[in-house]
């Protein structure tokens, strides 16, 4: 039986950049998975987010749950111009932030795109998020950015494709 879990692209930063983009993503897979271990130039307000296909419209929303170490909480955002896959979690300067994102059926042109994320930072919190991009377009690019600050050297981002039979 054919292998179906493939690395599509991977980036390890060697310098400071404002954002990271996976572009020209083919429609050859069923799902996408992104694994990241980014490092911020500052721990202040380094909230990460994504955009699909360069869409900067108010087409993103999300619902999340978190454990802060002392309480559980939930939050949502609506009509955002960025796809936040966190709430209170942040990218820190010590590489403690990690995330895995699942984008199921990313290339269909019928449904809006729902993505799932698990993020953690041992010094901060653990979160799970479901996000929505209100577009029926196939996803061909994903941009990752921070509210403020930049990604620095040593940050890693890897994109995988999973192909169903």
């Amino acid at each position: 039986m054919a292998s179906t879990y493939e690395k599509i692209a991977s980036t390890t930063l060697t310098s400071t950049v404002a954002s990271v983009t996976f572009s020209s993503i083919s429609g050859a897979y069923t799902d996408l998975v992104v694994v990241m271990n980014p490092i911020s130039s500052s721990a202040t307000d380094s909230y990460p987010w994504l955009q699909f296909n360069g869409d900067t419209g108010s087409n993103y929303s999300r619902t999340m749950i978190a454990g802060t170490g002392s309480a559980a909480e939930s939050d949502r955002s609506t009509n955002s111009t960025q796809g936040y896959f966190i709430y209170g979690n942040r990218v820190f300067t010590d590489a403690s932030f990690n995330a895995i994102l699942h984008i199921n059926n990313y290339s269909n042109t019928t449904t809006y795109k729902t993505f799932l994320a698990r993020t953690g930072a041992a010094s901060n919190r653990v979160e799970s998020t479901v996000g929505l991009w209100r577009s029926t377009s196939a996803i061909t690019s994903i941009l990752f950015d921070l509210d403020t600050n930049s990604f620095v050297s040593g940050s890693t981002f890897t994109l995988y494709g999973i192909k169903a039979a």
């Binding site: 692209a9 954002s19 999300r62 749950i65 699942h102 199921n104 059926n105 799932l116 479901v130 999973i162």
Partner: protein, 189 residues
């Protein structure tokens, strides 16, 4: 604006030979049950990745229901923790007749293009000497409402290997067109 771009199509795929597609069901018209049968015991773990939507024509969401090996006895248990955007919830049930993924599936009264998503792992599914454990991450967001959850389930009927998996919607509702469930096998060393 991005200042670093990775052109994904320029990378030749590096595959992971331990993760294989077994079968996929794509719903073309409303159907009550999505089943995977005759699952071979050649893998160590199973993973199901899906998008789905319930036919119930109202807002809100429905449970996704899981049964193994056609067993509908009181041989299942579950725990979950969830958030709906304004509050959190946690619960558990023991000796139940299926594993419910609570509030998993968007109902058909919501915006038509919205679908739920999830990933379900079934660990050591082919073991013949222990119970079977399930873990899941699933959710739906509807731009102003939503639900995200982590679930854990147990199937303790017999130590038989899992050979069939059936997914249904609570209250005998249907999956709508474009729902898709893909079953993968993950090999051990």
């Amino acid at each position: 604006m991005p200042i670093l771009g990775t052109v994904a199509s320029q990378f030749s795929g590096k595959s992971f030979s331990s993760f294989e597609s077994i079968a996929t069901v794509t719903v073309t018209s409303a159907t009550s049950t999505i089943s995977f049968t005759s699952i071979p015991a050649t893998y160590t773990h199973l993973q199901i990745r899906f998008i789905g939507r319930s036919s119930y024509n109202t807002t809100g969401q429905d449970n996704l229901v899981i049964n193994f090996n056609s067993n509908t006895g009181s041989n299942y248990a579950e725990h979950y923790v969830a958030g709906n955007g304004t509050g959190t919830d946690s619960g558990a049930q023991s000796s139940i007749t299926s594993i419910p993924l609570r509030e998993c599936l968007i109902r058909d009264g919501n915006t038509s293009s919205m679908f739920s998503a999830g990933i379900i792992d079934i660990l050591d599914y082919a073991s013949t000497n222990k119970n079977k454990t399930v873990r899941a991450l699933f959710g739906n967001d509807r731009n102003g409402a939503g639900y995200v959850a982590l679930g854990s389930g147990l199937f303790f009927a017999t130590p038989a290997a899992i050979t069939t998996i059936a997914f249904t919607v609570e209250s005998s509702r249907n999956f709508v067109q474009y729902s898709q469930f893909a079953l993968y096998g993950i090999k051990g060393a």
